[in-house]
């Protein structure tokens, strides 16, 4: 094997690893380096194996065997984000994992909708509590037309049930929605929830 052939092989492997690395930007550096080291090690093993079998272009074949580098990277990222979400209390991490999961099928989409409704409800209750001092017509209104949590139209009759208790009640409901949604998402993004594992053929 000539020095030029060796350089070409190394360049092919480095180029593949660089493209995988581009897709791993969402991961922490140690995690990314570990994945790249393992892929690099695999490629060197494959090149040796193919060369011993007399393959004409071992590096090209080894790289081709791993498929599209972006797709490979996305599978690692999906796994890592799912694990991170299952341990996180941060809504944006849970929502990001939920969005990725939503792409994996109907059940995943349901999970994402639950996340959006859960956090959306939490925000709505909190906004209601903040606005109450400025908007007296904010409250829990009942009438012969039903019940409304929020602003009642002046055009319809009804009476308000909570008064100033509307603020603590809204804060409690906001907390219940946010924490309930967080716990549900953690549970659903846990690795044991196999339906959420994105398996790409």
């Amino acid at each position: 094997m000539t020095a030029i052939e060796l350089l070409t092989e190394n360049a092919l492997i480095q180029d593949f690893l660089r493209r995988v690395a581009n897709g791993l930007r969402a991961l922490d550096d140690p995690e990314k380096e570990d994945i790249l080291a393992e892929i690099g090690s695999h490629l060197r093993d494959r090149v040796e194996e193919l060369r011993s079998q007399g393959a004409p272009h071992p590096a090209e074949q080894a790289v081709a065997g791993l498929g599209d580098p972006a797709e490979l990277a996305s599978q690692f990222v999906a796994s890592a984000q799912q694990r991170r979400a299952s341990r996180s209390y941060a809504p944006w991490i849970l929502l990001r994992a939920g969005a990725r999961i939503a792409l994996s099928g109907g059940k995943g989409m349901l999970v994402f909708l639950v996340a959006v409704i859960g956090y959306g409800g939490a925000v709505a209750f909190l906004v209601g509590a903040i606005l109450k001092p400025f908007l007296p017509q904010m409250g829990l209104w009942v009438g012969n037309w039903g019940m409304v949590w929020g602003l009642k139209s002046d055009a319809v009759s009804g009476h308000e049930l909570l008064g100033q208790y509307f603020i603590p009640a809204s804060i409690v409901l906001s907390f219940v929605f946010a924490s309930g949604c967080t716990l549900l998402l953690q549970r659903l993004t846990r690795p044991a929830g196999r339906l959420l594992n994105r398996v790409v053929p």
């Binding site: 393992e38 695999h42 060197r44 093993d45 599978q75 690692f76 796994s79 053929p201």
Partner: protein
């Protein structure tokens, strides 16, 4: 293709076989590491040699990562005397237990299906 093995039937689009293999890949990986630690390419070759399973190379490593995250595998880098370092995997106690549980489930399922298939075979003779 996720995993391939010798085609034996008329499953023309291969969808059923692909689903079957996909569903059994975790068990295959747990089983292949039962006797000791192996690195990526060794795992692929062992699966191929012992079970006739050809797992796509790009598929293996994310799955190994997931099973490690699940606490079923552990891994460590080992410097080779000649050549490059390799990342070896082995089963944790939880992984061994999971392998036993899955093997038990697999055997029960397989026996049930085999009983049904025996009738299918008998029916073919009629």
């Amino acid at each position: 293709m996720y995993v391939t093995m010798l085609r034996t039937g008329n499953d023309r689009d291969g969808r059923w076989e692909a689903q079957l293999r996909k569903g059994s890949l975790d068990l295959a990986l747990l089983a292949v590491l039962w006797e000791g630690r192996l690195y990526g390419l060794e795992i692929l070759r062992r699966l191929e040699k012992v079970a006739g399973l050809e797992v796509a190379e790009g598929t293996l490593y994310p799955i190994l990562m997931r099973l490690k995250q699940d606490g079923l595998f552990k891994s460590t880098w080992v410097e080779a005397q000649a050549g490059h370092p390799r990342k070896y995997y082995w089963l944790t106690p939880a992984g061994r237990q999971r392998a036993l549980d899955m093997a038990k489930t697999w055997n029960l399922f397989s026996q049930g299906i085999s009983s049904l298939l025996a009738r299918v075979k008998d029916g073919a003779k009629e």
